[in-house]
Symmetry: C2
Subunit: 321 residues, 2 copies
């Protein structure tokens, strides 16, 4: 299978090399607005084609699938053109910013017989299913999911340099960069909330550098916190009447699950690969190979729900002072 | 000095024995609605007088100070009658439920030349001042303060037995029992918030068995969570641009402070007494001995602010679904 990559960032490189660990996978082309960056990327991954015009790239018949790792604001338009030209698309999160946006893209994918997946680690991690199964018979009353990761770009921001990740017009900000993982996690575990509220910390350019979202469920509060502006140590906890589950580190990696109850401490998780991106790529490629539309539908439902959450938060969930 | 105690609960016993570790301190009397409970308490603390009529007790000229450890709903009325009769009062938290209520009690205390302190561990812990000093030059963007303590009374509640701590008419519930510590902590560190919202988890009798409060500050969110309905492990964290402070265990005890930054891990806290109640009692007795009105005023300002927070949360901060 021939992969084309849109974008040349660190995450683009990381995922591209993950794709290459699978059999019969070649990097066929790269697209970048900057020829030089494209060439550099191409030399690392031994591909010869560097596109600076996306129209040209999507008309390249050799390309089977496209991985989109561009700034957030470009995801929807680029997914659209790729799907219109019959390419399978693996798009970085957030896949879209409203339910309608994603619905239109899904319609296009169906029409053009393409598979179309959000690059979202959370729900593909083996420990996610284990956790979901484990809490089935528990009574949770509090879920806290923190994904704080200080960004060196924040240092730059304070010096007046606005990188894509903190640029409003690129749909940067902590929610779309980090919070979206937490939304996938909480929705995946507890479903759609009855209500929710978002509290941003915003920089002078208006971008959210950190934030808190409270999601309200019947008999349970879920608190999401995420940020690029403070040092911290990501962790997730689910507190139930029966005991509590601790997941150290980012919910996007879900390396370990420890359950604490009156009997003591129980390790529940299974061993996971060092490269946590392996699972989402594996799911995508298997889905294509097996022509698994049922699995695709299930993924879409998860992504549609999270897009709806993002949309609701934009429209009326904001209580930032 | 002659101490009288209102209430005979476990916390009443704990604080009474703490008072007795100070020189020249005797338990002179106990008040309980139930004669038998009063007698039992009296026998433990070697006092002879057991009152079942509060009017009688406050007219007892031998009594210098009263420790009030009754159900929350009785705090204000009992403080009032004690102060009116010229007794110094050490009252369990919450000392009152609105700013006006506490203001009236303070007026009474002044009029009758009494000292009047809320039994609130947080701000008297030696580590509290250390922490407050340490974050002076930092830039916090997220504070999380969790005080989850599963209660065996919650098991009883599920069996249909409503104890005082879960009784609406006794002003029970998780906020007044546990959340109030977190409010004192956050107000003590960050001051009065620009806005705040409360999210309750309520039992069928309407009582809050757990809750979340988001307090919004300029460039910082503070999240308080507290609960008696789920297992957990209390902890507090303050995330700053420069690093983060971890305080394991309840903020009411503040045993340790660890600061994490790029240089590593730094223990900041000082050793604290095993009995964390010692500090508040020490502060109260020293204040009386030294006739320290400046210190009293400072305490009142802290308690008034927290009463105002409680009042605001009752009136308009509630977003429970």
């Amino acid at each position: 299978m021939n992969l084309a990559v849109i974008g040349t960032s660190k995450i683009a490189q990381k995922l591209t090399s993950t794709f290459l660990t699978f059999p019969d996978m070649q990097v066929n082309a790269v697209y970048s607005r900057t020829k030089e960056k494209g060439k550099e990327f191409a030399s690392v991954f031994s591909c010869t084609k560097v596109y600076t015009d996306l129209e040209d790239m999507v008309n390249d018949k050799e390309i089977d699938l496209v991985y989109i790792a561009s700034p957030n604001a470009l995801h929807v338009a680029q997914s659209k053109i790729c799907l219109q030209h019959g390419k399978h698309v693996f798009c970085e999160k957030p896949i879209a910013f409203s339910r309608d946006e994603l619905d239109s893209l899904i319609a296009l994918a169906k029409q053009n017989h393409c598979f179309f997946q959000e690059a979202m680690t959370v729900t593909y991690m083996p420990n996610f299913s284990i956790l979901k199964q484990a809490i089935q018979d528990k009574h949770p009353h509090l879920l806290t999911c923190d994904l704080s990761q200080y960004s060196i770009q924040y240092d730059a921001l304070k010096q007046g340099e606005i990188s894509n990740v903190f640029a409003k017009q690129m749909k940067g900000g902590a929610l779309y960069d980090l919070g979206v993982y937490c939304l996938h996690f909480v929705y995946g575990i507890l479903g759609y909330p009855k209500a929710m509220t978002k509290y941003d910390v915003r920089y002078t350019n208006g971008i959210d550098t950190s934030g808190v979202i409270v999601m309200q469920y019947e008999q349970c509060n879920a608190i999401i916190s995420y940020g690029k502006d403070s040092k911290g140590s990501a962790h997730t906890r689910i507190q139930c009447e029966e005991g509590y589950y601790d997941m150290e580190g980012a919910c996007s990696r879900l390396r370990t699950i420890v359950f604490h109850d009156e009997q003591g401490t129980h390790a529940l998780g299974t061993e996971t690969k060092e490269n946590h991106h392996w699972y989402e790529v594996d799911a995508f490629l298997k889905m294509i190979q097996k022509n698994n539309h049922a699995f695709q539908q299930q993924q879409w439902e998860q992504s549609l729900a999270v897009c709806q959450l993002l949309e609701e938060l934009q429209e009326k969930g904001d209580k930032t002072v």
